[in-house]
Symmetry: D2
Subunit: 415 residues, 4 copies
């Protein structure tokens, strides 16, 4: 949805029609280094196959736009309405999430044909004349669909990284010679603390650009004085935590975090491993380029909330709240060095909850955000895997406290 757009419906649709093929094409580009097999398999219930991402994002346009606006709508394939419905109860039944990886049919080629078909029909629709009210509704759904596809582009990368990491061959996603796409190196300056005074701040989306319903309403919060770290925590700093025995010390963890560490028998972050030679050992990290020596000056990533929170305690600090983070990110908008965006999502200490006065979007798309507002923690910023132009100050990403397969890191705060 777009806030009080002063643009005419015609202009909105024209701009989005131009963006549409670019976003759609980018999904195909991301899948390009992958084989049909890579695209089909599901590594865990929380992750989805790349093919499923390609189909589901198409389903979103077909179901929420074509079905509503296309005269004589016919589904591309009647079974796809269920197969590629993620979680919209208002649309109807869903193929079981944990069985997405069993769908060897439709083939990747058929999914490509599905994409092509829906793209063509959408472009035909966009070039037709519609009454202004309908045009605005169309534009809003189209923009939502493009933002939705960009979210899945990041998920496609995190999901494929997870799949490849479980393969003992540790295959890279990115072949040699391709430009580096998951830069996580940070300014190796000493960490310092930027202070903020107590006061009322405004939080949530402002202005006219796109936003998800969970970023609204913009509202006031009272924030007590706090300081925030000038940069993200590095692999090298997190390594000191690991080597200090943190994964063996219950006193550093939340009770539920410690239970999780013990049950999963964890001793280090998800993609780290220690390789042993006869006389030596060395830490390595699985990356989209395959297994690499642990880069001590990179931001630490792929941490759960539990790990981030325990690290903060060990470091004599804490995670920032959403409001603190948003305040600080706004203040640092001009500085690239602070890495609020583009390196790693930053866990906050805030559970994912509705803003005061929150109203979900109307219709089935209203299930997009609101129904997940329990037992999840908010991450702010964006990561190296976030599509260009997708990040913004008020963006609220969220995952359960145990989720580790996202590009998630740590920015410290203290009172």
């Amino acid at each position: 949805m777009t806030a009080q757009a002063p643009l005419s419906a015609e202009v909105r649709v024209r701009k989005l029609a131009a963006a549409f093929p670019v976003v759609r094409e980018r999904s195909m580009t991301l899948a390009q280094p992958l084989s049909d097999e890579d695209c089909c398999v599901q590594s865990m219930p929380d992750a989805s196959p790349a093919k499923w991402h390609l189909a589901h994002t198409t389903w979103f346009f077909e179901t929420f736009i074509l079905e509503r606006f296309e005269a004589d709508f016919q589904p591309f394939h009647p079974a796809f309405r269920v197969l590629f419905n993620s979680y919209y109860e208002g649309v109807g039944e869903q193929h079981p999430r944990a069985q997405r990886g069993l769908l060897t049919r439709p083939s990747l080629a058929e999914v490509r044909a599905y994409r092509l078909n829906v793209d063509q029909r959408l472009q035909r629709l966009l070039s037709a004349m519609l009454p202004s009210a309908a045009s605005h509704a169309l534009a809003s759904l189209l923009e939502l669909g493009l933002q939705h596809e960009q979210q899945h582009q990041e998920l496609l990368l995190t999901d494929i990284k997870h799949l490849l990491s479980l393969n003992p061959l540790k295959p890279p996603y990115l072949l040699d010679g391709r430009p580096e796409s998951d830069r996580q190196s940070i300014t190796p300056a000493p960490l310092c603390w930027q202070p903020f005074e107590a006061g009322i701040v405004e939080v949530g989306h402002a202005g006219q650009g796109f936003f998800f319903d969970n970023e609204r309403p913009r509202h006031r919060q009272f924030v007590e004085r706090f300081s925030i770290a000038s940069r993200l925590v590095s692999n090298g700093e997190y390594l000191a935590f690991v080597e200090a025995g943190a994964y063996q010390n219950p006193l550093l963890w939340l009770a539920a975090g410690w239970e999780w560490v013990v049950q999963q028998n964890l001793t280090h972050p998800l993609y780290w491993q220690k390789s042993y030679t006869q006389f030596d050992s060395a830490w390595q990290e699985f990356t989209l380029h395959g297994l690499q020596p642990l880069a001590l000056n990179d931001a630490v990533t792929h941490l759960s909330f539990f790990e981030a929170e325990a690290y903060a305690r060990w470091a004599g600090a804490r995670l920032p709240t959403e409001a603190e983070w948003e305040c600080a990110a706004a203040a640092n908008a001009a500085s690239q060095d602070a890495d609020y965006f583009g390196i790693a999502w930053q866990w906050t200490g805030s559970s994912y909850a509705p803003y005061p006065g929150y109203v979900p979007q109307e219709g089935a798309v209203g299930e997009y955000n609101g129904k997940f507002m329990v037992n999840q923690y908010v991450l702010r910023g964006s990561s190296s895997a976030t599509p260009p132009g997708h990040a913004r100050l008020s963006y609220r990403n969220f995952f359960p406290a145990t989720a580790r397969w996202q590009f998630s890191g740590i920015r410290l705060a203290r009172s």
Copy 2:
């Protein structure tokens, strides 16, 4: 701990020494209607046997007070340090929580002897002269121990109710003729909405009485305008929700809540059951007095956060935040009719998190609250099972979103 107590250490100790036998005696009184067998069995990992409650509260005094202040301290039984340690990693190992019900030994008689022994040693300690600093430390721990025992008194009731409810004989805890102890009836007035204007409020414990570390620091929050219900939701109102098919309608629930409803195959609150005769059916509720006809004018209780949240959505409302609740409860302090206290704990929409500037208490007792601040939701007020004098405005109770065996109900709010 006690806020800047102007009382002398001597006076504090004297007052607490007077309260000590009263609180301790009340635990034994609660266990009085129970057989040795009732006291030993554990109905689920989340619940504890009554005998374990009686022993653990004693262990708390022995470990945190006698071990520190008693000259020539000798443990009552060396194994009890592990057996009755609930979750204090700083104290050492713990008997596995799910196996508390296997402890047929020590017997209930031995646990009674343990209580008597610790009570006598504590009273000897309290009557001795201590330096003022030590007296203050002792007083603080003693007060914490008494508040801790009161919390377990409520848990003893909820846990025994759960155990008895699983017995097909549906035995009552309270025998006929005893005074009613779990009054939940509410004023059957029409529900109306009390409005509050936006503004900065102060939240958290103020003044000199006892508080848990999680109620501090008192701090400022900005609260947007809201309204709050004049009374709790009744069984009759919740029944309308049940009979409207709420447990069959995914659109009313948080996604995780709906998953839980489906997996557990739920169709009504925990202690409700429908009894069928040849021509009729009737709702009943298991209570501490055994199975009873559902009292439509009682407050609905024993709801999970998921159920409370779904009911609120169905009713076109929402749960209040902690700050809203505290604000409204303060404003209604003079009115008994609003039932902020003494009927049912009230789920808030706030996840359990540290207040800005929160510092856990020093030492092993610092594990009391802080380490549970994740994936739990706050309940405010108090219930019919809360010991007299234990409730207060800033009290933060907390349970996971699926917990149903507490005396937990609903007060609605809206923006």
Copy 3:
């Protein structure tokens, strides 16, 4: 049931009426060292509380005898029909097995009253005159009930041993000064091999005494030549297996056995534990007398089929088949030294299956044996916990391959 009994119905009933109080009394004697709490708790779904054993054996007489033969039959308590039904689908619903330990009511005192009531009604019935056909039917069911109660007497001991073993206090069942009741010491003679020639043997119950339906029909089997060990395997011998690294070596185990060892993280038999002092370590074993030094000349007991089978492989031998065991036990009937009976049940390599021509007993009691004939392995002989007079040559005990809490040991064989 009794094979072609030449005794008159009257004589049969008279003999059984004399045995009845003796067997019934023995159950109460076994429960005598136990507190009400000990009798109520269930240590795992496979085990039952002592109180449940006392009630269920009574239920057996009430349901299968009184309900059929008593004029004006009234149940002692209508709920008991479900509460104490173990698994008889023909009788109706059953209280869930895993929840037997939640039944703090009826109390142990009420169960004692239940026993007394049923005993008195049965004795009244037995002293009445019945037509001969009814008397025979009554006698058969009475005998089955007494044998059934004897089986539960052994289970009561194994179940209570399991419960007490999980208590960190390691309480003994038998107090000092009481006569030893679980003798497992064996003749420390060198193990030698007793040879048998190939040939047709008869297997199954012969003669006129009592038998369970699974021991019939007596039938022919061809047994190839084999040898069988002159005594049971000792703790000392099994210790050599443990110390040879057997629990770390997959090549010694059946595939499913190795999976079980790994999943359960097993390193020794169920009731063994290694205690460490500063300079030394020593093996101990939990017994009905509490924790004791491991007695190297006792028969090794409390082994699963998987452990027995792996030991046999390691020792260059195998487990005997049922037919081999029965053959050898018959040949050693005169010798007490071979310990076929009274020390430990002996795992055979035979899965529990119907004999050719097997017909289950008529009526609901037909569920006694036949419906368990899958995924279980037969044990032969009897143990130190088997009631006097209950053992016989054709007796077929059976448990799943992972069961360890019975008094189960090893007698080796080879081809």
Copy 4:
């Protein structure tokens, strides 16, 4: 291995060298209707991806033959030794069974190259001159490898059928126009009973052809008199069992079978489904040709042991023992009509156990059979999916009592 082969080593090797490309080629032919995606995915832990079957059968030749006989052996890929080791602990570590479907790499093309490479090296080896003893050893392992590959050909079909059945599109494996390959139709004659007299029979492999170690030694068994059915049970007959409410009646099932029915909420065989139209309903069955109307005159297949055993009880019969089946199959060797082979594997009532005097094959291949001899039931005969020439009288197939995805059916017997 081959029994006392009178053939010279040279002749044996020459014959097997001729069979080798035929068997190997057939695996590729079976995979031909499948896409790369179909070949990669694993539908459940018990099933393996087609690609894994193609690689593992190749691994068998590389590991057990090339590694031993090839001069200057170099593995095709060092990681494959672990990746494609199924369960040979003697060879070393194994990639976790439940994660076979995560191996998107190596690709199907790489696995094809692996097959080609090993085929060429094996053929080079077979054309070289070896000393006679080595030639015999080579011939034995080569024959084992070919038989092993044939077993996996059947598994490839059952596993791919399972995968496709879980796809809501219900895709056929066999395209229209291809010759039918899973004929299960049986002679629709009335079922009659063929009697056999009691006596000693010889059981197990005789003569000179190939056998697995579990078919030996040939030995004597005494078989009591029995009758066996003249044909397999049909879909139509099993449908009567279903429609008689069998899946709702605990009295028809083994206790463990009933527990399984209830837990899995089963109401019909694995691949059956009932389709509903407005006025009617009809049974359908998923086949390798996709979803088809239930063919009443086909043999019922894809039954578990529990279902087969319950059906037999309902029909007033039982399952034959292994010895009975072998006896009857030998007597019917001349008759094609009795369908002992080529339609459906036939559950016996015999648990999978070693024959008297059983000795596993030497070396790591000795893990092929023996270590699975627990908690499995034997099936005899062969199915429509068994490769031509692979079946024989003494063949012992085996699966757990709950396995339903094999072509497993019922032949009745009675005493």
